[in-house]
């Protein structure tokens, strides 16, 4: 990625902006933490954090809010990746983890407890005043209006109608005790940017993003993996399917897509031809119209 004259490519501009945001947070907050969800966006965010503070190490801990329902490959990848870059990892599980599950409680309730509540508790317990998240504005309609420095009140709630104006690169980091800021350094990245960057920078990602033949249950046009004990409905039986994951969440709620893309360039190629937006494979976003907005107000990322 060479620079033409004195301009830099869009990826380098996005990179420079994300690095600026991270340094701003470290300079202005006392206890920042980086939410790490093991997915590709987290991989890119952590990579950018390494760049921002080079030659030093990442100067804040990574926090994984673990529902306990992640894919086993994700846990394996997480431990290896974090160790390889020498970062500090904190894993937080809600006390109800292992009891609450999407099969008996429904996806909404399960998510509300194991993700949203657990996250709020983890932030409170760690007394963190700033938490980085890898969310991107392009992902979902309500995220399009999210600030890069997004204010949360003492209950972790987002008030979309009362957001602080954000001009130039002048971020307002002032909060009272108990309040916090969610920071989204990847706000202006698209899914294509993320994959291009992973390709260019050779950033490791969970192998589940790459296609292979695996056992799947086909339910409501979604491919549900059998990574853990997913109760089968009547008449359902696993099939061998060539597929991959576009996003990684909890195994009971994350669908795979039919795909033969086995490398990053193949994924990029597939993305430009198969146009299905990425979060559509997340069951929870489709519960009710505007469900992401509702969850975000309550404190979800």
């Amino acid at each position: 990625m060479d620079n033409r004259g004195y301009s830099i490519t869009h990826l380098r501009q996005l990179e420079a902006e994300s690095i600026f945001v991270m340094r701003e947070v470290l300079a202005e907050f006392e206890r920042p933490v980086m939410l790490y969800s093991v997915g590709k966006d987290s991989s890119v965010m952590v990579h950018l954090a390494r760049k921002a503070f080079h030659p030093g190490k990442i100067p804040f801990p990574l926090l994984h809010v673990d529902t306990g329902y992640k894919f086993s490959e994700m846990y394996k990848f997480r431990d290896k990746f974090v160790k390889s870059i020498g970062a500090d990892l904190i894993v937080y599980k809600h006390e109800q983890s292992g009891k609450v599950n999407p099969f008996d409680y429904g996806t909404q309730k399960c998510c509300a407890i194991l993700k949203t509540q657990a996250l709020l508790e983890a932030i409170k317990a760690g007394k963190y005043d700033a938490a980085f998240g890898g969310a991107r504005r392009e992902e979902e309609k309500s995220r399009a209006k999210e600030r890069i420095f997004s204010f949360r009140d003492e209950f972790g709630q987002w008030d979309p109608r009362n957001q602080r104006p954000e001009l130039w690169n002048l971020y307002n980091a002032r909060v009272n005790k108990g309040e916090s800021i969610r920071v989204f350094p990847l706000s202006n990245w698209t899914e294509l940017d993320v994959w291009l960057y992973i390709h260019v920078e050779k950033i490791p990602v969970v192998p589940m993003y790459f296609a292979k033949e695996q056992d799947m249950v086909v339910r409501d046009e979604q491919l549900i993996p059998l990574d853990g004990p997913v109760p089968l409905k009547k008449g359902e039986k696993p099939e061998r399917v060539m597929c991959r994951f576009r996003t990684l969440g909890c195994y009971p709620c994350t669908g795979a897509v039919h795909s033969v893309a086995k490398t990053v360039p193949e994924i990029i190629e597939e993305m430009m031809t198969v146009r299905i937006s990425e979060r559509s494979t997340r069951v929870i976003d489709h519960d009710v119209e505007g469900s992401m907005e509702t969850k975000k107000k309550e404190g979800y990322f």
Partner: protein, 640 residues
């Protein structure tokens, strides 16, 4: 095309940020939806979901593009856009970030937010209505926020029968208005976002239009020169010290170029060093320019912290506490002239006071309005003084070092955005004294255990401050010391404060700008107040040319203790007596701001005494003052 080639091309794309603004029903959301859709970036399932919702709402099987863009539930219900929303699409040449902002008047702040980072701004005009109030508002904000390129999209041409005459009339109206603004590049496009004319493809229905389609402009407009590559400014963001062997200064190059080996100066310390290396994760680089984020190491160890700035020796920004700016007010709680707001400017956070709201701009007529108030979505010209010096350029010259935000110290809200202007030299700006300079820590005054009456008995005098004002060379200081001697001989206890003894000590380092003079007098007034508090008489000799500042001095000291004495003399008389050489300097242009020569002197309107010093001697003047002090019961004290 092979995938490798595709990836290679996509890696090399440029980034263009643009903002859109339009009134209700101008079809702004439709235009954006159209751009996203026609550049084949609307994912199929999003489209399906939207089709489902549109059907429920309008029962028409037509894609409502606006539903793609109006993100928040509340907006969809009300059918309006209430916040800035960011959208993304790309073509093989460029990646685009759209700041989609609402059009109506009450959302001026959102428009300003969207425009702050934009390379280009699209203003939509409904061809049926022509130029409206809001069109003017959008154009003004585009100009105010320094967006270099403006595209005027005359929309809904399909409804007007694709009439060239309609288009030309709107173009002419707009050009007439925009002449008053400062936008270097304005283009006009006749368009129908609904049908798709001239959005992505040039329309065959308007053969009279020979220009490019909107997307062609977005792809081709030359933006490489929009950055300032001349004035090197590197605001230090973070000092990186991972171990004892490495000390680097992290930051994003705000403007100009910084090279390895460059001699640089650090502001505010003005210490000089050389760039040892420019460090990045991917290795060292020889040169950094905007908007690169890098880490700079220097050849010698200098004390540098966040908020400092590295610059080239021969190209230094203005370093001053005092500045003037155009300000867009963004909060329901209006401007409070007596509040000490936080200012965030580059990487510096400090506090400031407001000296003066000079005027408000009526955005619709561009006329100036006198006003003491600035409310939500209003724009005004304000003079500020920060508690520590800022390193700034005018916003015209440098968006990165000319823009700032104001933060309310109580609510923590971002309440305003400002663009610094330098049309008037800093030392000519009005200033004022305020009792609301922010304290570093919360403090209260303790009551003394000595009562005022006890002090009266001890000294046989009432505390007062005799304030001698007049031109340089009028003899104020001579009178002050003669008065001190006579008072002392009579048994009174008093202290003299004059320009020399104060500026050589307490006020060392304060300059002669209007902000410097205001601060100088504020400190003098505070010293006088404390000294009076101890029961002593204070004699002050200061030019203090501005009536408004003397009034504020009187307020600090207390009006009942403040005795104003006007040492009256003409400038010519003073010049003849002058031993300081200041008059000669002022006349040769080496000195600005000398009252009576190149700055005004406001003679007191109702002084306690006037001393016609051209006609009476110094001793006579002292006698007049002593008589007055006796009449006022200051000394000897009338009774206790």
């Amino acid at each position: 095309m092979s995938i490798e080639k595709f990836i290679e091309e996509n890696e090399r794309k440029e980034l263009l940020r643009f903002s859109t603004a339009g009134s209700i029903d101008d079809g702004k959301s439709t235009l954006i939806g159209r751009l996203l859709h026609d550049s084949k970036n609307v994912y199929e399932d999003q489209l399906l979901a939207v089709k489902k919702v549109s059907k429920e709402k309008t029962s028409v099987e037509k894609i409502d593009f606006a539903l793609l863009t109006d993100g928040l539930k509340a907006e969809r219900e009300q059918g309006i856009t209430i916040d800035v929303a960011y959208r993304y699409f790309s073509t093989p040449r460029r990646k685009f970030i759209i700041a989609d902002t609402p059009g109506h008047e009450q959302y001026t702040r959102n428009m300003a937010t969207g425009a702050s980072t934009a390379n280009l701004s699209i203003v939509l005009i409904d061809a049926r209505n022509g130029i409206l109030k809001q069109t003017r508002r959008h154009a003004f904000i585009t100009s105010l926020l320094g967006v270099p390129h403006l595209v005027v999209a005359v929309n809904k041409m399909d409804v007007m029968g694709y009439s060239e005459e309609v288009f030309n009339r709107i173009k002419q109206d707009f050009t007439g208005f925009a002449g008053k603004l400062r936008i270097p590049d304005i283009r006009f496009i006749p368009m129908s976002a609904l049908v798709g004319d001239n959005v992505v493809e040039r329309s065959e229905r308007m053969p009279w239009y020979k220009g490019e389609s909107l997307l062609e402009i977005l792809e081709n407009v030359y933006i490489a020169s929009d950055h300032n590559f001349i004035d090197m400014r590197f605001p230090v963001q973070y000092v990186l010290r991972p171990d004892m062997s490495f000390r680097g200064y992290c930051g994003q190059v705000a403007s100009g170029m910084i090279r390895k080996g460059d001699e640089i100066m650090v502001l505010p310390s003005r210490k000089v060093s050389r760039v040892k290396s420019i460090v990045t994760f991917d290795g060292e680089v020889d040169c950094a320019f905007p908007p690169m984020s890098v880490t700079i190491t220097l050849e010698n160890e200098i004390d540098i912290s966040r908020g400092d700035m590295l610059v080239h020796l021969h190209n230094v920004p203005i370093v001053d506490r005092h500045f003037e700016a155009m300000v867009v007010w963004m909060n329901e709680a209006g401007l409070d002239l007596n509040k000490s707001y936080f200012i965030k400017h580059t990487t510096k956070l400090t506090r400031l006071r407001i000296d003066e709201l000079r005027y408000k701009v009526d955005v619709d007529s561009l006329k100036r309005m006198e006003s003491g108030l600035l409310g939500l979505n209003e724009i005004g010209r304000i003079v500020f003084t920060a508690t520590t010096p800022l390193f700034y350029d005018s916003y015209d010259k440098n968006r990165a070092t000319g823009g700032f935000i104001l933060i309310d110290p109580i609510s923590n809200n971002t309440v305003a955005a400002g663009m610094i202007i330098d049309r008037e030299p800093v030392d000519k700006l009005p200033s004022r004294i305020t009792g609301n300079e922010p304290a570093d820590a919360p403090m209260t005054r303790r009551d003394s255990r000595v009562l005022p009456d006890e002090r009266l008995k001890r000294w046989n005098q009432r505390p007062a401050t005799v304030w001698l004002t007049g031109l340089v060379g009028a003899g104020k200081t001579d009178i002050a010391y003669a008065l001190e001697k006579r008072l002392f001989d009579l048994g009174a206890v008093c202290v003299v404060l004059d320009g020399e003894n104060i500026r050589l000590g307490v006020n060392k380092g304060l300059d002669f700008s209007s902000a410097g003079m205001a601060e100088h007098l504020r400190r003098v007034a505070e010293i006088a107040r404390l000294t009076n508090g101890a029961g002593l008489i204070v004699v002050c000799a200061f030019v203090s040319p501005e009536a408004s500042l003397r009034k504020q001095v009187a307020e600090i000291i207390g009006k009942d203790r403040f005795v104003e004495v006007y040492v009256e003399a003409s400038a010519e008389w003073c010049e003849k007596r002058d031993k300081s050489g200041l008059y000669a300097k002022a006349k040769s242009g080496d000195l600005k701001n000398l009252a009576g020569v190149n700055a005004s002197y406001d003679a007191p309107k109702n002084p306690d005494i006037v001393l016609p010093i051209e006609k009476i001697s110094c001793d006579e003047a002292v006698t007049v003052i002593l008589n007055m002090l006796r009449d006022k019961g200051v000394f000897p004290c009338r009774s206790y």
